[in-house]
C-alpha cells in the first residue's frame, strides 16, 4: 500500500455492493420516480426507459437508456444510480461508464447483444452486477469481473416463484460445495463449468465472494421478507413498485420490510392498505421462449 490513488480495484467495486446490503434498489423511468424512491429510503435506483413489465408487454428490441434520461436522474438524486446494458454490449457499457453511473447491470431484461460472450468487466472502472440462476452461472460472471450477483427471477411478472427457485438453488449449491471433500472439488468445478480456484474459495468460505441480491418478480413487502429470509443480501424491485396502485406507499413498505425481514409484526403493519399490487403474470403462463431468465449463459 502506498499513498498513490487506485481506482476501480476489486475491493472498491465489491465494497460498493457490500454497502448496499439490507437495502432496496428500485427501477425508475423518470426523475419523479427516482425522487419517490430516494424519499422512501431506496439505497440506489436503476435508471431505465421501460420497466420489465412494459418491455414484456410492448416487445421489440430493448436497449440501454438515453443518456439524457440517465443524466437527469443522476442530477435529481444523491443515492447511487445504476443503469442496464444488453448482455455482451460492451460499447453500451463504455457509454454508461463515461456518463459516470455508479453500477452497470449487464441484464437479461434487455435484448442480448451477444449470444456467446458476456462483457469483459475487468476492463472497466465502474463495477458490474449480473444475474444468475445457479452457482455455476454466478461464478462465470465473477470470473468475467462482475462485483455483485443478483439471482434472476422472471422480471416483469410480479410472480416471485422463480426468484425463490434461483435463490434456493444458489444457496443449496454453495452448501453442497462446503460439505465436499477437497478431492471432490475438481469434478465439482467441471460440473459447475466454473474455475477451480473460485469453486475452492466458495467451498472454503461457505459463501459467494460477493454480495448476492435477489431480483425478478418481487411485488410486495412479504415478497421482500421472503427473499431476505432465504438468504438474499438485498432486493431489486423492478415493475413491482411503479406498476402498483400507490407507488410511494409501496416503496416505503418494501424498504421497511427489507430492514425488518425477520419481524412478522413489522411486515404485517407495513402490508396494510397498500392498494393494488401490480397485476402480474404467472410465470407458467409465459411461453418458454419469452422467458427472460434463460438469457445469459
Amino acid at each position: 500500500m502506498s499513498s498513490e490513488i487506485s481506482t476501480g480495484t476489486s475491493r472498491v467495486k465489491r465494497g460498493m455492493a457490500e454497502m448496499l446490503k439490507g437495502g432496496v434498489i428500485m427501477d425508475v423511468v423518470n426523475v419523479e420516480q427516482a425522487k419517490i424512491a430516494e424519499d422512501a429510503g431506496a439505497v440506489a435506483v436503476m435508471a431505465l426507459e421501460r420497466v420489465p413489465a412494459d418491455i414484456r408487454a410492448e416487445g421489440g428490441v430493448s436497449r440501454m437508456s438515453d443518456p439524457d434520461m440517465i443524466d437527469a436522474i443522476r442530477a435529481a438524486v444523491s443515492i447511487p444510480v445504476m443503469a442496464k446494458v444488453r448482455i455482451g454490449h460492451f460499447a453500451e457499457a463504455q457509454i454508461l461508464e463515461s456518463l459516470g453511473v455508479d453500477y452497470i447491470d449487464e441484464s437479461e431484461v434487455l435484448s442480448p447483444a451477444d449470444y456467446a460472450n458476456h462483457i469483459d468487466k475487468w476492463k472497466f472502472t465502474v463495477p458490474f452486477v449480473c444475474g444468475a440462476t445457479n452457482l455455476g452461472e454466478a461464478l462465470r460472471r465473477l470470473t468475467e469481473g462482475a462485483a455483485m450477483i443478483r439471482s434472476k427471477g422472471e422480471a416483469g411478472t410480479g410472480d416471485v416463484s422463480n426468484a425463490v427457485t434461483h435463490m434456493r438453488k444458489i444457496r443449496s449449491e454453495v452448501l453442497r460445495l462446503s460439505s465436499m471433500a477437497p478431492d471432490e472439488l475438481f469434478v465439482a468445478a467441471k460440473e459447475l463449468q466454473a474455475p477451480y480456484d473460485l469453486v475452492a474459495e466458495v467451498a472454503r468460505t461457505g459463501s459467494l465472494p460477493t454480495v448476492l441480491f435477489t431480483a425478478g418478480g418481487i411485488a410486495t413487502p412479504a415478497d421482500a421478507a421472503l427473499m431476505m429470509q432465504l438468504g438474499a443480501d438485498g432486493v431489486f424491485v423492478g415493475s413491482g413498485i411503479f406498476k402498483s396502485g400507490n407507488p410511494a406507499e409501496r416503496a416505503n413498505a418494501v424498504v421497511q420490510a427489507t430492514m425488518h425481514y425477520d419481524n412478522p409484526d413489522v411486515i404485517a403493519k407495513v402490508s396494510r392498505g397498500l392498494g393494488e399490487a401490480m397485476v402480474g403474470i404467472n410465470v407458467a403462463d409465459i411461453p418458454v421462449h419469452h422467458r427472460l431468465e434463460d438469457r445469459g449463459w
Binding site: I5, T7, V12, M19, G22, P80, V101, D102, Y103
Partner: protein, 203 residues
C-alpha cells in the same frame, strides 16, 4: 485481563457484517442493534457504511433516532464509517431534503465528496492514535464523504496525503465519538477498531 465490551452495530442497512467481524478481531463482542431495547444493552455503537439517507429515514420511521441522540448525549461511544460519519456529523452538505443526523461531532461533512463510484479509490492513510501509527492504513473510499470543517473540540486524525485531494480531512474524533470517511471494516487491519475499543474501555 482486559474487559471484552459488547459493542452494537446499527443494523438498518449497509456493511454490518464486516464491522461485526472487525470487532471480533479487536477484543470486543459485536451484536446487532435494530431496536431501542437492543441499543440499551450495548456499551458502544458502530454506525456502518451504507446510504445515510436510508439510515436516517428508517431510524426515524422506527423511532430510533431520538434514542440514538439521547444515548450519544449520555456519553455512549460511537464510531461511524462513511455513511456513519455523516450520521454523526452536526452539519451535512449535499443532504437530501429534510435529512437529519444523530449529530455529536462538531463537523460539516460533504456527502459523496470525491464523486461517484468511478472515483472511489484506495490509498495509504496515516492515522493518529492507532497502534504503529507510522505504518500506513489501507484507506478504502467508496462514494465517500469528507470533512469540510471541524470545530475546535474535534481532533483531526487522518488526512489524504497526496493526489488531487491532498489535505482533505477523512478522520476525526472527540472524547467519545470517532468517524472515518473510509472503511476500515473492509480491510484485515484491526487497528482502527482497536482504537475504538480502547475509547470504549476508557469511557
Amino acid at each position: 485481563m482486559q474487559s471484552v465490551p459488547t459493542i452494537g452495530v446499527l443494523a438498518i442497512q449497509g456493511g454490518v457484517r464486516e464491522h461485526l467481524h472487525a470487532l471480533e478481531l479487536s477484543g470486543a463482542r459485536g451484536t446487532l442493534v435494530k431496536t431501542r431495547m437492543q441499543l440499551d444493552e450495548v456499551a458502544a455503537l458502530i454506525i456502518p457504511g451504507g446510504e445515510s439517507s436510508t439510515m436516517d429515514k428508517l431510524a426515524r420511521t422506527f423511532g430510533l433516532m431520538e434514542p440514538l441522540r439521547e444515548a450519544r448525549a449520555g456519553g455512549l461511544p460511537m464510531f461511524g464509517s462513511c455513511a456513519g460519519m455523516i450520521m454523526l456529523a452536526d452539519r451535512i452538505s449535499g443532504a437530501i431534503a429534510d435529512q437529519e443526523s444523530i449529530g455529536g461531532l462538531d463537523i460539516t461533512v460533504e456527502r459523496n465528496a470525491f464523486g461517484g463510484q468511478t472515483h472511489s479509490f484506495e490509498t495509504g492513510i496515516v492515522i493518529k492514535g492507532i497502534r504503529d501509527p507510522e505504518q500506513e492504513f489501507e484507506g478504502v473510499f467508496i462514494r465517500a464523504p469528507w470533512v469540510i470543517t471541524a470545530g475546535e473540540s474535534t481532533d483531526v486524525i487522518a488526512e489524504i496525503s497526496s493526489g488531487p485531494h491532498e489535505g482533505r480531512i477523512v478522520g476525526v474524533r472527540s472524547d467519545t465519538l470517532m468517524a472515518t470517511s473510509f472503511h476500515p471494516e473492509l480491510t484485515a487491519d484491526p487497528r482502527v477498531h482497536e482504537l475504538f475499543v480502547e475509547m470504549v474501555r476508557n469511557s
